[in-house]
Amino acid sequence: MNRFDYIRPSSVAEAIEAAIPGSALLAGGTNLVDLMKAGVARPTRVVDITRLPGLDRIEWLGDGGVRIGALVRNSDLAHDSRFARAFPAVAEAVLSGASPQLRNAARLGGNLMQRTRCAYFLDTASACNRRRPGSGCDARDGENRQLAVLGWSEHCIATHPSDVCVPLVALDAMVEVAGPNGVRDFPLDGLHRLPNATPEHETNLAPGEIIVGLRIPGDAVRYRDHSRYLKLRERTSFAFALVSAAAALEFDGDRIRSARVALGGVAAKPWRALDAENVLSGATISEESFYRAAAAALAGAAPSGDNEFKIELARRLVQRALLVAAAGTPDVMPALPASPFSVEMRVGESHVA
């Protein structure tokens, strides 16, 4: 770890002033401290924002929506019963990520801002345009079976690792930021950037801007009875997504009035699938209609290496997520959140020998 100055501001205004170029914001530290140990992040100044007042609250809004402070812990969000009832796919996504220890430390703002887990990004001996612009991309000819199939470029094929961002982007969540020029908000879909020729520009935050909160509009509550997040991993628990999908449905009789679909683990940003949503509008529940929607979601997909399998895997996972969402949000959180193994299991039966 390189040496750094440690500053602990006590107001958002002080934090913005302290966040000079070269500094990093510290909240839970579960990603930043790890990256600093690896030498991937080398901030000259660490601005500890954990004491900023008022950012650790979950506040309900007049429209039935919710405002989540940037410092709310993952575990506190997922286990807030009112929140989990209103936005069950978000709670399931949070509980499918990392471990209980990490969820206790990690905060919402940091989850949004976490960096890719591409092995070449994390290995300072490898070429990586995202970490060192212009150095190349060793992932292109490397171990790339887990990497992007949507929105990638020849410069970078990394994926964004967040689970919670996937249902959040499906539900039209808004990010609230404060910066040198005041406060503003914008859709979460506009936070992360696709790599194009400048993968080092990971987000659309301006210099000095700090995420202070996130809003889910009350409009999104209408999906609460038919909302799921499914996540395929190399192991059942404590692993990043190979592919994940959020599905949220609103029914009018036996027809779908409106649908929300997003994918994770497939691109450098949480991937909203508007084309799939359009296919689903007015459709009835069937494996065929759901597969058509899934096909629309992956219509622009292309392998970035040895990962063509992820495209069909993603189609089947979107279809499966739609089927389990149509079946209804479970009354209790599955024992293995977001795992397809949980869906198929009979009560009391374990897939573990």
């Binding site: 770890m1 040496r3 750094f4 100055d5 440690y6 602990r8 510290l26 530290g29 579960t30 401290v33 790890d34 140990k37 660490v46 500890d48 954990t50 812990r73 575990s75 286990h79 990392a98 471990s99 209980p100 220890q101 990490l102 206790n104 430390a105 628990s237 404590f238 024992a335 293995l336 959140p337 374990s350 573990v352």
Partner: protein, 165 residues
Amino acid sequence: MSLCIRLIINGEPREIALDDPRITLLDLLRERLALTGAKKGCDRGQCGACTVHVEGRRINACLALAASLDGASIVTIEGLAQGEILHPVQAAFIAHDGLQCGFCTPGQIMSAAALIAEGHAGNDPERIRELMSGNLCRCGAYKGITEAVLEAQKTFASAGRKDAA
């Protein structure tokens, strides 16, 4: 740069001068305060051997900068037993062979004590396994660990206690 932080460690208030903000809670406990119960396994938040309780929450001590925890109350494995009386989770790990080499055990026990206090597992072994997934055991004592957590949880339930952690 020098920084003075206050921590309450296993009930004892401490004032600690940090000469370097890079020190993690794990290194502070092990190298400065001679509390070597929390183990350094991966040092990257993946194995759980360094699990301690901060303000009643289980976290990985290896990923927490000590400076950032100024003012916090911390419980380590050294602070779990009441004198010579083992914590029910400690006793259950012995009774159920929840360990072989023992390296991961302090982290497993701190994690299990927090899991019981959190109260999300019920009596479902699958939920216990899922909620213990942040603690790796390379000897593969998982079966005994799950049984130990179930038994310790019953001990707390029958005693009407909620303060497992």
